[in-house]
Amino acid sequence: MNYPSDGFVAVVKRDCPTCSMVVPVLRDLVNRQVSLITVTQDDPTFPSDLPQVIDDTTLERSFHWQIETVPTVMKIKNGRETDRIVGWHRQEWETFMGQSDLGQELIPMKPGCGAKNVEPGIAEELAILYGDTGMTARHVRLGEFEDDIEACFARGWSDGLPVVPPTAVRVYRMLQGTTRRPDEIIGVMPPNLAPVNVEKVAVNAVMAGCKPEYMPVVLAAVEAACEDPFNMHGILATTYHVGPVVVVNGPVTERINMNSGINALGQGNRANATIGRALQLVVRNVGGGVPGEIDRAAQGNPGKYTFCFAEREHDTEWEPLAAQLGVESGKSAVTLFCGSGVYPIMDQISRTPESLARSFAMTLRTVCHAKYAIVADAMLAVSPEHTRVFEQAGWSKQRLLQELEQLLLMPTAPLARGVDGNDEGMPDFVLGAPALPKFRPGGLLIVRVGGNAGMFSSVIAGWPASGATGSVPVTREVRS
């Protein structure tokens, strides 16, 4: 955008008391033959009685000049801005203009007002109209009388609940939540192996109801879902219940107000609810993972709408999950676990770690089937009241894992097919060993989560195809 001429350009708006106050000074400068053009942001008739007032009610000029405060006065030489001042400060104006005795009747100093082009809502509209947003996704025009939320359902973009219609302004705002370029490819999403760029993640994050500051977490979750070891394709294609479970660790959880306390695995927290949902919408819309098509789950589980929570790290000595999986302390990370629903463990009696660990083991033994060993992974979600029993006895998370490993060595004889009048069980060829572990090495994860009260923990059971042949948990650091 070219500047109007050599001389000075003053950008003002009627709505600004400082601008109204300096109008006599602007008239005085014109009378002194100073080359001055006034640009008005909100009212083409303001200021009156000045020879050269340019109407910038579209705010295009203000946008390109990056005006933040009014009045702004810019000094122009050979069509280029060389300097600018903002607000009213008599001495500063006099020096800037090379004049003396300006605005003698005015108070010596008055700060300016926020420019109209940077008002929330307007700034985004202008960026889309006049700026380089980097957004390249296709535009979908709705019918004149088409309801926008219904249109999203009709086009198959929804998980069954209403989505926030992804307008350009909303997507642009979402993109402000990350420093990454909209066209950056962050992975290839199964099952269609479609490249996912930051913009597509932002569109789906808008639909899920995310705030822009959730974007780094959503991006990390999508990156993790695209990792081959997580095997998103298999997780969709299986007839089993599973879907991605998103565990978030580190300082980002408090920054975006995630819930790791009361009802953290349930409803009610925007970040928990919408981050997990955004991931599932990317899987659906970009990856093409649609129930009844590639998603073949016989029953599914309610967590396939969204299943995301933060680990409760702030009041415990227990090592966070991300740290156990190799993330440096103080950094934020997302871990994806292929899991199904939440199965409760009740123990209100145990006050020793030995007894409580046995309660955990008894339930963990039933993951998938009580007669199965080394089949599915599991995530054990330990409540604060249960954690306290271990911490008071000096048991770390690692110690609990080791003890559970011993408790979950299952003698093989009862696992055989046909035992207990039940045809299911382990095949004969693995029954030679005296005992089998319930979980493969690394197949049991522990997180601490929940409100202060309640001696109830839970198991989030994994997929019978866990490990290298199926899905392994994937952790990604959260970047800005």
Binding site: R138, H139, V140, R141, L142, A154, P165, A168
Partner: protein, 91 residues
């Protein structure tokens, strides 16, 4: 007019696609929808006779008035009972 940003991988047209047409009518239930415009029934009677002669299952439906969309109940009934619907728009 509202413009939305496409959340998909853009592998399908932006315009909503029609359901694929069946290659063959054998075994399908065909609904004939009379929109209550004059003499539409004449056309549909001919169609019904023709389709029935070919051993196809035909069901008849009628909108209360051509001036308004079919009532939801009627739409649901047709979706539940038919694989294909022929709508008579004739005047």
């Amino acid at each position: 007019m509202t413009i939305l940003i496409d959340p998909t991988a853009e592998q399908k047209p932006a315009v909503r696609e029609r359901l694929p047409r069946p290659r063959d009518l054998a075994g399908l239930t065909i609904g004939l929808l009379d929109i209550s415009k004059l003499r539409g029934d004449v056309f549909l009677n001919e169609l019904e006779a023709n389709l029935s002669e070919r051993g196809l299952t035909v069901k008849r439906y009628k909108k209360p008035t051509f001036a308004r969309p079919a009532p939801v109940e009627l739409q649901q009934k047709m979706v539940a009972e038919c694989d294909v619907v022929i709508e008579a728009l004739a005047d």
